[in-house]
Every structure is written in C-alpha cells, then in structure tokens.
C-alpha cells in the first residue's frame, strides 16, 4: 500500500466544498465507495496509487459531486413526502379559515367580547391548521437548511415557549423576548424557504406583504381606509398561506418528473 492517501485528500477537498446535505452522512458513504472500489482494483493487481487514481477518475471531481448534490436542492428536487403534501392541504385550509375569521372579526368587532363568541374557537382552529402547515414547510426544506435555517428552526419553538410563559405568568420580558425569538426564527426559516425556491416565491411575497397590512387596525385602530387595508392584509396573508400550502400539495406531480442530472 502506497503512502499517499489520495482518497483522504479527495474527501478533505469535498468536505471543504460543503456539498448540500449532511456531511456526516455523505462523506462516510463516499469513503466506503471509494475504498471498496480501490481495494477491488488492488485485488486485480493495480498498485494502491493507481487503484486510487482509477477510482477517483471514475467517481467525479469534488466540484462535480458538490454540483450534483446542489442540483437536488430547490425546485424539482423530489423531497416531498405524503406528510408534507398533507401539510399542504392543511395549510390551504388554515389560510382560508384564518383570512375568513379575521375578516369576520373586522366586520363584527362587537362579537369579539361576547361570551359565546365564535372568534376564539375559529381563530384557534385556524392557528392550529396554519402551524401544522408551517411544520410541513419546515419538513420539506429542512434538508437544505444552512446554519441560519438550522438556527431559526430552534429559535421558533424557544420563542413560542417563552411567549406562552410570558402570557401565563404575566411576565412582559419573557413575552417580548419570546416574541422576538419567534419573529427572528420565522424570518431565518423564511429566508431558507425563499432561497430553496421550492414554493412559488410570489406566495411567500403575498403572505409577507399581508402581515404589515393586517396589523393596521389591530395596532392603529380606526376604520375607513385602515379597515380596508387590514382587510386586504388578512386576505393577502390567508391567500399567501393557502398558496404555500398549494405549493406543498401539488409537488406530487412535479416530483414524478424530477431527475437528478447524471452529467456532471
């Protein structure tokens, strides 16, 4: 066996290129492949150096492999599952219900204080549906998260816990820190979803545009154009969420036609 470990050098080069995916999964698998083939060549009489050269030549360069893994990111990558597709349907329902509930609440604000108000149960149901849909969005994209997305995915639950604790214990600092973490985490994850390009970016823009508009009346109060702005915001938010859900759901069709390029 020769002294130069070309396979180890190749793996170092590939590691440095950070191919999309979990390196702890990718590198051992590739190493097993390369060393198995090299050992087979060694058994056929090649020197260890020649065996390594041969296997590396047929495997593809580190840049080839990085690009091949990158090609499985984003649109066309078959990463949807029955769970994410179901979450898409749930998100569609959640988006519609959320928009309808908020619009109704804007039209009939006097109902909100009634002891038998429909608002609480409807809003809770819509929120649960939307959260389930967003979990589906996360599951669909988690394989392509960068460090930012990986951080965001943990900030969201941490923020929710602090938010709930803040409300339950009347602790404003906990509430505001939780809210901040939640917003930051959602933003980081949203950036990853945007970058992945799996879901139509217009859906993300629509939903995001709806948030500030929707907050006009709750924050500033008022009626007239403010009420109209909030209405538009509710509808945009609901439509954006529904569109995101549609994007998750309809992937079944596009996945059936997806491929990984074999020419690298």
């Amino acid at each position: 066996v020769g002294t130069a470990d070309l396979i180890a050098a190749y793996l170092d080069e590939l590691r440095a290129k950070r191919p999309a995916g979990d390196l702890d999964e990718i590198l051992p698998e590739i190493e097993d492949h390369l060393r198995s083939v090299a050992e087979a060549h060694l058994g056929l009489g090649l020197s260890w150096q020649d065996a390594q050269h041969h296997v590396l030549a047929t495997f593809g360069s580190a840049e080839d492999i990085r690009r091949a893994f990158a090609s499985t990111r984003g649109k066309g990558a078959a990463m949807s599952t029955p769970i994410t597709r179901s979450a898409g349907v749930i998100a569609m329902l959640g988006g519609v219900l959320l928009a309808a509930t908020l619009c109704l609440a804007a039209i009939r604000p006097w109902d909100l204080g009634a002891t038998t108000s429909w608002f609480g149960p409807l809003l809770a149901t819509a929120t649960i549906l939307v959260i389930a849909g967003l979990i589906g969005v996360h599951l669909r994209h988690r394989a392509v998260y960068s460090v930012a997305g990986g951080t965001g995915r943990w900030l969201v639950p941490a923020g929710v816990v602090l938010l709930i604790l803040g409300v339950a214990t009347w602790n404003p600092p906990s509430y505001f820190v939780g809210l901040g973490l939640l917003v930051l985490g959602l933003t980081l994850v949203a950036v990853e979803v945007w970058r992945a390009g799996v879901i139509d970016r217009r859906a993300l823009l629509l939903g995001a545009a709806g948030i500030p508009l929707a907050l006009v009346v709750p924050v500033l109060g008022g009626d007239g154009w403010m009420l109209l702005a909030s209405f538009a915001g509710f509808l945009a938010l609901g439509a954006g969420l529904g569109w995101v859900g549609y994007g998750l759901w309809q992937e079944q069709t596009s996945n059936d036609n997806s491929t990984t390029p074999v020419a690298v």
Partner: protein, 116 residues
C-alpha cells in the same frame, strides 16, 4: 465525464432505474452502480458519484430508506425500497411503457426504421 450513453437520454429515467435495482434487494451505492452497469451491458456507465445525490433525494422523497451497517471495518449505507417506492415503480414503469411504445410507433416509420 464520459458516459456510455448520452447523459440527457438517461437523465429522465435515473429514478426508475435506481428504484428498480433496489427493489430486488437491499444494496449499497457501489453495488447499485455496478448492477446498473452490468445489467445494461455497460451502456449505463454512470459517473459513480452522481448516484448518491439521487439516492439521497429518493430517500428524502420517502421512496427509499437506508440504514448503516459495518463492512470491512467501515460504515456502509444500505438502501432498500419503501412501500411508497414500490408504488412509484409501478407507476413509473407504466409511464415508461407508454412512452417507449409511443416512441417505437413513431420511429418504426421511415428509412431509419430497423428492418424486421
């Protein structure tokens, strides 16, 4: 990268090929590449490294599952077909049959048609 067949022809069918090979028994990546090469009469001579992104993608899609074993003192990832993967093969084979039949019908007319 040299291929035994034009890459763009093979491109659209890689998933079906991989699923079919794995459907006949659990295999690791290199065994899958070798099986494809041998059974195609060395026509499907894939750049070996490009098979792994496809396998990972199929696993994320729920069509394959994998588990780590140990072989020759090294960790080895072995792939097997899921229930969804089996359904996908049935569907994609049907699509392939329809496509290849239609292609044959079109191509059998003209001076380039193979003599029967």
């Amino acid at each position: 990268m040299i291929l035994g067949m034009r890459a763009d022809i093979l491109k659209g069918h890689l998933d079906l090929l991989l699923l079919t090979v794995v459907s006949e028994g659990s295999k690791h990546g290199y065994a899958i590449v070798e099986e494809l090469r041998e059974r195609s009469g060395e026509v499907f001579d894939l750049p070996e490294g490009t098979v792994y992104p496809a396998l990972h993608r199929l696993e994320r899609a729920g069509l394959l599952r994998s588990e780590w074993t140990t072989a020759s003192g090294r960790r080895r990832r072995v792939y097997s077909l899921t229930h969804d993967g089996r359904s996908a093969i049935v569907r994609r084979r049907r699509e392939w049959h329809e496509f290849s039949t239609a292609m044959a019908h079109v191509m059998e007319v003209g001076p380039w048609a193979q003599p029967t």
